[in-house]
């Protein structure tokens, strides 16, 4: 197989990888806020259940979770899983990353000084004004480095979709490598992941710099 053809075949996989990446972020960043709110709920039952759920998600391999989300409906409920591959995959990624983000958000919010809340309260800000105008922008800045870490991990974790035989770049690389007895597809995949992460790091650094105007 010529290099050009190889690259072209892998190109469709790259697009799918990018698809998993963005869908996971779009789903997990906001879902993380929801989970964080449940995790910090005043209701002890809600709080404990959420805490246990996060522990399970963080305590088991993402690969295993993907298999459970995909095959679970069949084994547990005897449902047909035709057409379920991609939704199952995305749900697995979103839920996993949302739990990590939830814990990052929680850490950021808990690191805010009580004085910020008190100053806002005395000035008469409502609870939601305090959260959205005063607390959240500061938390965002504080947690950005941790978010960057997760996003970079996500770029590489997308390769786990190969577990469900989803044709993203890593699955295709493995296929071509086997059929052509060539090492080249892995090199191409490696370069692709590296460039993707370089772009992520570059973008996040820009955002961090833009927020450097205050401490």
């Amino acid at each position: 197989m010529e290099f050009g053809t190889m690259l072209e075949t892998m190109g469709s996989g790259m697009l799918k990888t990018i698809g998993i990446f963005f869908l996971t972020l779009i789903g997990s960043l906001p879902l993380g806020v929801g989970i964080m709110l449940l995790r910090t709920s005043k209701n002890k039952v809600v709080k404990s259940i959420t805490k246990a759920f996060i522990a399970v998600i963080r305590g088991t391999p993402l690969m295993l979770q993907l298999l459970v989300w995909y095959f679970g409906p069949y084994y547990l409920f005897d449902w047909s899983i035709r057409g379920w591959r991609f939704p199952g995959l995305i749900i697995g990624f979103v839920v996993n990353y949302a739990c990590y983000f939830a814990e990052i958000y929680r850490g950021g919010i808990e690191s805010m000084s009580v004085g910020q809340y008190e100053a806002a309260e005395v000035l008469g800000y409502t609870k939601s004004q305090t959260f959205f105008r005063i607390i959240l922008p500061q938390v965002f800045k504080r947690i950005l480095p941790s978010i960057t870490n997760e996003v970079i991990t996500l770029v590489k974790d997308t390769s786990l979709a190969y577990t469900l035989a989803y044709a993203e770049v890593f699955s295709i690389a493995k296929q071509i490598s086997a059929s052509q007895t060539s090492f080249m597809p892995f090199l191409i995949a490696g370069v692709f992941y590296f460039i993707a992460n370089y772009a992520v790091a570059f973008g996040m650094e820009r955002i961090e710099k833009a927020l450097k105007y205050y401490n």
Binding site: Q116, E118, E121, V122, L123, G124, Y125, R133, I134, Y214
Partner: protein, 257 residues
């Protein structure tokens, strides 16, 4: 009468179990234009009294009245009730608080720290508020710092911005919770100058402070607190020059060395 606190009681859970009574039946009223200083050793309840007056802490007994609004009261069964959130909005407009740690919003410029609440909380016209804020900054000697961020300012400058932020809300009464305790001596002077200027303009103020000479010079009334009660209060010359209580004399002596 701007503020009237009657028979205030407040306890905190003690670390060893049980409760620690921080305010024991304290009453304090402040008239328009009065400057009241509260002095006393650490743990005497001075700051807690301010925090109760500004609703950062809830009281366990007594009543708090601002202007003609009873904001907190205790019924015959000893149950404390506060007015509704909505009614509280008006009451919160009556007072401002300057913190020991400034508590400016670090992500807002100096100007925005001052203008944000009048615009977003009181819904006032942004241009008008901005013009007032610039005047306030000039009065604080910070006319050139409007676009700076709090992290670029010294502690003394930050505290002056915090005072401007509180004044921009046009409070009837301004509370200061140890406004210079986090500052170096030189920076303390610039903040005290501002407070003295406000006193000359007859701003109603309650100041918790460890600056005895300052309290003596600017106050109409000095309150000495210890162990959650008011031990002695009166004219500053009386309290400082000729204290009636042995506890007051003992406390003031500790400042003479």
């Amino acid at each position: 009468m701007i503020l009237e606190m009657k028979n205030i009681r407040k306890s905190f859970p003690a670390s060893a179990g049980g409760t620690n009574e921080v305010l024991r039946d304290i009453s304090l009223s402040v008239d328009k234009g009065e400057v009241v200083s509260i002095i006393g050793p650490s743990g005497s309840g001075k700051s807690t009294l301010l925090r109760c007056a500004t609703f950062l802490e809830t009281i366990d007994g007594g009543s708090i009245t601002y202007m003609d609004t009873v904001a907190a009261s205790t019924d015959a069964n000893g149950r404390v009730s506060y007015i509704s959130k909505n009614e509280m909005k008006t009451v919160k407009g009556y007072f401002g608080l300057v913190f020991q740690q400034f508590n400016l919003f670090p992500h807002f410029s100096v100007l925005k720290n001052i203008t944000d609440a009048p615009v977003k909380v009181h819904g006032r016209n942004a241009e008008e508020v901005k013009a007032e804020a610039m005047e306030l900054l000039a009065a604080m000697g910070l006319g050139d710092k409007a676009d700076a961020y709090p992290c670029q300012l010294s502690g003394g400058q930050q505290q002056r911005v915090a005072i401007a932020r509180a004044l921009a809300m046009k409070p009837e009464i301004l509370f200061f919770d140890e406004p210079t305790s986090a500052l170096d001596p030189e920076l303390t002077i610039e903040v005290l100058k501002i407070i003295r200027k406000l006193a000359e303009e007859h701003m109603t103020m309650v100041i918790v402070t460890h600056e005895m000479n300052f309290a003596r010079a600017v106050s109409n009334r000095v309150i000495f607190m210890d162990g959650g009660v008011i031990v002695e209060q009166g004219d500053p010359e009386e309290v400082f020059g000729n204290p009636r209580q042995e506890r007051t004399r003992q406390f003031l002596r500790s400042y003479e060395q």
